[in-house]
Amino acid sequence: MKRKWILFSTMMISMAFLSGCWSKKELSELALISAVGIDRDEDGNYMKAIQIINPGNVSSGLQGGGGGQAPGVTVITAEGKSIVDVHINASAEISRQLYHPHANLIVIGEDLAREQPLNTLLDSFDRNAEFRNTAQLVIAKKSPAADLIKVLSPVEKLPSEKIYKTLDVTEKMRGENITVSLQDFIKTSASPGIEPVLSSFTLEGDVKEGKKQENIQQSQPETIVKADGLAIFKEDKLVDFYSGNMARGVVWILDRVKQTDVLLDWKKNKDAITYSVIRQSTSVSADTSKDLPEITVNVKAEGMIRETEAPVKLDDPNVIHELEKTAEKEIKEQLERTVKQTQNKKTDIFGFGQTVYRKDADKWKKLRNNWNDDYFPNLKVKVNVDAFIRRTGLRTAPNLSEIKEKYE
């Protein structure tokens, strides 16, 4: 019995020494990648900018001093013939082993995305078990991807985090961007009858200033990075950028709008009333009985009035009803414009083809070959909007002179 216990405890103790020695990675030997940006130079080589976290400089500021003197990240760039080749070349510049699992952002330069099918760039990330397939994918509009991840940001210590969170917040508030992960993009571009979209970010100001720590040591940074609408793809290549209401139209039809504002005209006052959509649901259906399918987009929006610049009696249900009609008309027009213009671009980013495929697979077989070029642009698309105004905030009628006179 005693021998058994000795044997048992020896085994238990030796377990502590035996585990985890094969290909171990110490934290102090790793360079944690937070973001990567991919571009191409004139010779056709890939250029990859790798944003690495400086652990010492991102530690919490509670202890005072220490962090904040130097940037939270370092960006190294390398060139190569393939994405993995670049990655291996980059090891010449950094004293630690590059470590992928913490990367949550991939930025692709506009030029590269226009020239080369995006999936060819993403293969190495998708194939690598170390890389997160939930990392966000964005396009750098009008600037190289490398610049976007070099710019230091106020509030957030990691620039990658700043882009990641900005995207998340603006998607919820404004509805002109959507978060698209690596996996979402690959999934959508492989699915029949739908083309992917990505959010785009632009650089405002000079990248040389943005790289410096001084950029964020002022109340208004010289250089900032901001979300700027959607990048539209066709057959895996970037074809156009949408911004403003066009971008929101796309997000809306994809049923990804969470909250947004719609400006309504009232009598002669243009954009006088701000209608805030608090929740909405959109469904797309297809009627496949005819030769060319007919698409119906049904939108149901619910919200409140948040601002008025025109005299409007908001305590009158009839006025509210009239405003609802105005909102319906406005949203309908915006969506129809988005659909029309996208049909001219000949790329089905709304997934109308997918709706047809899911409804009637036989029909889809006849249409799929030239869907984007021949059938999608000629689709009859009907938009139905149901808008509801539920409340108007703390006040009824606005404090405007015209109304006061009427009351008197």
Partner: protein
């Protein structure tokens, strides 16, 4: 045969773990596209049919190992040859599963570790369990079953709550009609994983209450059919058919897609735990069956003595059967179901049953004549 007893419930658990084993980690029945889950359910129904053949054989000789009764039915020498072929078949299947799991571990976690080392660890574990006997395996199974059930329930909850599931991805279910679904069911899912229940011919005589074997078996196949179908439906719903088709381990990608409340993410360990549990049971059972059958056939008194030598055979076989992972997988999809599973799971047992049926009928008549 060793002197062991397992309960009907333990049999149920072993069958479920065994069926889920390697089937849950691969893109099962993806040739049927959105209808994969349907193909799996049809496969399970077919599996129930095959199981009834085995059960009929078992009913004729409820206390004897198949290695013995096959000699009663088709004669001593042919019976021995058939039993020997089956031992090779089970050794090969065991090696295939070892290879599957070794390759999986290398691909997703231990990139720099040699295949031999990973396979060695798994085979060692299987050999150790076999030396302890079927009762120990059955009790281990009970423990592991609880873990696996917890993993599945919470994973499904997380997937449903995480909002990554899009039911639209499952449409159209029969885009190409019913034909590809039925074809996939009959060329793949019936045999892998459901028909592999044939291995339980060696286990059934251990069950304390033989009357319950039929109900337990059918129930276990149906249950694992539903679990596998819902796994594939979840994979398709989260990833879409195209991505599932390109993935070696779609369940891993599905689990990785879970992002909940900013901290429930990268739940790869869920997948690893489930896969290792299933793999362990499947490898051990196949190896156990070959060891027990070999001991019966060659009249080795202590079956556990064969565990090490046959373990070495499985280990070496698992390295030798294919030069690369794609080769291994293609063999599994194209060659194994048609040239191994079909004859060994369906044709041979059906023939043996036919002979047994005719013999017993004849004997019955003789009895009446007297």
């Amino acid at each position: 045969m060793e002197k062991a007893r397992i309960s009907a419930f333990q049999l149920f658990i072993l069958i479920v773990l065994f069926e889920l084993g390697s089937a849950m980690i691969v893109p099962l029945a993806i040739e049927a596209k959105q209808g994969a889950w349907l193909a799996i359910l049809i496969g399970a129904a077919g599996g129930c049919g095959i199981f009834l053949i085995y059960y009929a054989l078992f009913r004729y000789y409820p206390d004897e190992s198949p290695v013995h009764f096959v000699r009663h039915i088709i004669g001593s020498v042919p019976g021995k040859i058939v039993a020997f072929l089956y031992i090779l078949y089970f050794l090969y299947l065991s090696a295939r599963v070892v290879r599957d799991f070794g390759e999986m571990l290398i691909t997703i976690a231990y990139v720099e570790t040699p295949l031999f080392v990973l396979n060695l660890l798994m085979v060692l574990l299987a050999v150790y369990t076999i030396r302890k006997g079927i009762e120990v395996l059955a009790r281990t199974g009970e423990l592991l079953f609880i873990v696996l059930a917890f993993l599945f329930l919470s994973a499904f909850l997380l997937i449903a709550a995480g909002g990554t599931l899009d039911y639209g991805n499952l449409k159209p279910v029969m885009g190409e009609g019913l034909a590809p679904i039925v074809k996939t069911a009959f060329t793949q899912t019936i045999y892998f994983p459901f028909g592999e229940i044939f291995a339980f011919m060696m286990i059934m005589p251990y069950v304390t209450d033989p009357k319950k074997v039929k109900r337990t078996g059918l129930l276990a196949i149906t249950a694992s059919g539903f679990v596998l179908a819902s796994i594939m439906a979840a994979n398709t719903g989260v990833l879409g058919v195209e991505l599932v088709n390109r993935s070696l381990f779609p369940l891993l990608a599905t689990i990785q897609s879970i992002e909940l409340a900013d901290f429930l993410e990268r739940l790869d360990v869920y997948f690893m735990l489930a896969a290792i549990i299933g793999g362990f049971v499947k490898i051990t059972l196949f190896l156990y069956v070959s060891v027990a059958a070999a001991a019966d056939l060659f009249k080795v008194k202590k079956p556990s003595q064969l565990a090490y030598p046959l373990g070495v055979v499985v280990l070496l076989l698992s390295i030798m059967i294919a030069g690369s992972l794609p080769e291994h997988i293609q063999e599994g999809i194209k060659l194994v179901p048609l040239y191994l599973h079909l004859p060994f799971q369906v044709i041979l047992p059906a023939l043996v049953l036919l002979v047994a049926f005719v013999r017993h009928k004849g004997r019955g008549k003789e009895g009446e004549a007297k």
